[in-house]
Symmetry: C2
Subunit: 160 residues, 2 copies
């Protein structure tokens, strides 16, 4: 039953990309845990801190490229922890607006001091960084194109 | 309370890397869902299929750069689904050996036919791919070095 599995060159590259992304994420997780935060929590704090428009859980899920239901759960747990607060929008009653609390602001500042992994591209030369960023932008554009082909309609699944 | 958050060039690159990796993962998730599998399940099937040595949940967790407890849970759920089976090692009673079932073999073959995202680097030129892979290998090496600094001892946390 078992036969050898030959990966083509692209598939080997995919495995390298996936492994690298898992290791980078793990390293960032360990780094952030020193500030008492998870990667997802830090993501929510970052978007709330930098967004120029009010954010709903749905908008957050698009920015974070995550499923709406998992971001809703995350926001609820962060509210329980006192990092964010939610308020019904006055005009659109079914909209919930998420904002940072003072404790969330402090957590955001604390994680800024854990930055080795976050600055990891500093280990590359200027030209290596330029090629890397150019390549991942092409990959991202292609992935978005494939996502639209795979799931042509559901509005809540597509990255913005 | 709110002040502007200036990211440096490395941090902006980190955000691009993180966003790209989330989109690629999401695209692969959607692609794999057509074969009825999650990314993690496909990872387990892949390592079981290609490993030259017997795998325990602990070994799988190192290969997948995930926490041992989450891989144990994943393996248990896959056993319930009939994709893998576990057996106590005859010599080392506290070792559990994981292997593919016939249904797992079939699922592995089925996901091989969903390959657009998995072959995504085909959208790059040969030289773009070479620079990309060279850069991510350096990032991976640096991330492993940082992980060892951040967590110098716990043997079950380090990537192999």
């Amino acid at each position: 039953m078992v036969r050898s599995v030959e990966l083509n060159e692209y598939e080997r590259e995919w495995e390298e990309l996936a492994a690298t992304s898992a290791i980078l994420r793990r390293a960032r997780e360990v780094e952030l845990s020193r500030a008492g935060l998870s990667v997802s929590q830090a993501g929510v704090l970052y978007f709330l801190k930098t967004s120029k428009v009010p954010l709903t859980p749905m908008k957050l899920s698009r920015l974070m490229h995550k499923q709406p239901h998992s971001v809703s759960g995350l926001v609820k747990r962060m509210e329980t922890d006192g990092l964010v607060e939610t308020r019904r929008d006055l005009k659109r009653k079914n909209w919930v607006r998420v904002s940072l609390t003072r404790k969330g602001e402090e957590a955001f500042k604390r994680q800024l001091t854990e930055w080795d992994v976050r600055n990891i591209t500093a280990c590359l030369s200027k030209s290596e960084r330029e090629s890397l960023i150019a390549a991942i932008r092409k990959l991202r554009a292609r992935a978005i194109e494939l996502l639209r082909q795979l799931r042509p309609t559901p509005y809540d699944e597509l990255p913005v």
